[in-house]
Amino acid sequence: MLETKEIHFYYGAFHALKNISMTMDDHTVTAFIGPSGCGKSTFLRLFNRMNDLIPDTHLTGQCLIEGQDIYQKTVDVTTLRKKVGMVFQKPNPFPKSIFENVAYGLRVDGIKDKNFIRQRVEESLKGAALWEEVKDQLKKPAFELSGGQQQRLCIARALAIEPSVILMDEPASALDPISTSKIEDLIHSLKEKYTIVIVTHNMQQAARVSNKTGFFMLGELIEFNDTKKIFLSPEKEATQNYITGRFG
């Protein structure tokens, strides 16, 4: 379970997230929508502390995963990131073979057992619905895959280290509609095992894949509710204006 309590986040003096408290249940898909610069990506990145990489940022409030505050000093960031996988906007496979891409997280973790690695790679590729397409060419450079395949490879890469949460930052915005729908189907099947949080520009995508949707605007969480509720009868006028395209 992911939970935030009164989160405030600053880039230098810029107040990027304002007092955000919410709870996301296990094995659900939660989507964040909102106009560009509304803070939804920033919020997503809180959960695996990717914002740590940006200098001059500052956070107050609590961010809990399974009850533990991940911003405590005792928390090891690398361990956290193994538990909270992430998929990025543009597919970013490493310049290695397909196999090595998926095995990367394991190798970084110090695992040497070849059989174990091979098995885990296969499982992860199957989990990402890519196995059938690549099983005969695991040695091929990952760059030779299509964009959609690359993105599923990145998902497989994240699955290989057995996270409990998967964060997705606009995972399909760089892909064509066919690849997009494959990724969306994949998200549906991953929901069984993982807690998924997804940021998307595409409202329909949020509607299609998520159980719950949060609408962000200007760093505030305007509305957070069941996706059906948000898209059929949102409570806030701002939400309504945004999802109907009347925004601004």
Binding site: A207, V209, K228
Partner: protein, 224 residues
């Protein structure tokens, strides 16, 4: 199968569940009327609530489906058809309930078998139910060939209804039955006639869904 397809199939399945429920309501109403079966009539009345809740459920599912999945083309036509079919089904179920209520509320003598044959009331019931189950068949098998057959059956129903007015007027004049009872029977037959009309509407929706043709307010729809 794609996730969105699954959602749509689930919706379709719900509608067919409702269809079956309404069909059984119709069958029971017919039995109750023909046999003057109070028990059966009460059952029909009490089960009407289930039909109503079915309608609410399907309504909201249709809304959600449209809101979340933004269907287009055949998906959109199906969603819209199901939405309309669903409310039509509810109307038909209302008529079934209405017939059952007639059975419960009127205190007429059961009228003679001769009269029944003369009125062809059973045929009328059967034809309407056939139309109803045939239109289900058409939706389920996505077969618009059945449409013409169903629509032509509606003419039989209409013909029986128009005919029954004369027969009933005659019977009342001859004081074979009370005027009140005669009117009751006419109302029931009127309801069956409406069921036939609604079935025609359903068929039109099905044709819209499958062939994307609008049949409403067309003269020669039977020729389809």
């Amino acid at each position: 199968m794609k996730h969105t397809e699954k959602e749509l199939l689930a919706l379709k399945e719900e509608v067919s569940q409702m269809w079956k429920l309404v069909l059984s309501q119709l069958e029971k109403a017919k039995q109750a009327f023909l046999n003057d079966d109070f028990e059966l009539a009460r059952e029909v009345v009490s089960r009407e609530k289930r039909v109503n809740s079915f309608e609410l459920k399907i309504d909201s599912d249709c809304e959600n489906y449209i809101a979340l999945y933004n269907p287009v083309a055949i998906d959109l036509r199906l969603a819209l058809s199901l939405f309309k079919i669903c409310s039509t089904l509810e109307r038909i179920a209302d008529f079934a309930e209405g017939i059952a209520r007639h059975v419960i509320e009127e205190n007429c003598e059961p009228f003679s078998a001769e009269m029944k044959t003369q009125l062809r009331i059973e045929t009328m019931f059967d034809t309407a139910i056939e139309m109803f189950s045939d239109s289900y068949e058409a939706l389920d098998s996505e077969n618009t060939k059945l449409a013409g057959k169903i629509l032509s059956k509606d003419e039989i129903v209409d013909e029986i209804y128009i005919h029954s007015i004369k027969i009933l007027a005659e019977a009342i004049r001859k004081q074979m039955i009370t005027a009140e009872c005669g009117l009751h029977i006419l109302l029931v037959m009127r309801k069956i006639e409406r069921i036939g009309d609604h079935c025609s509407n359903i068929v039109e929706e099905i044709v819209f869904y499958i062939d994307a043709k609008v049949l409403k307010h067309h003269k020669n729809k039977v020729d389809i």
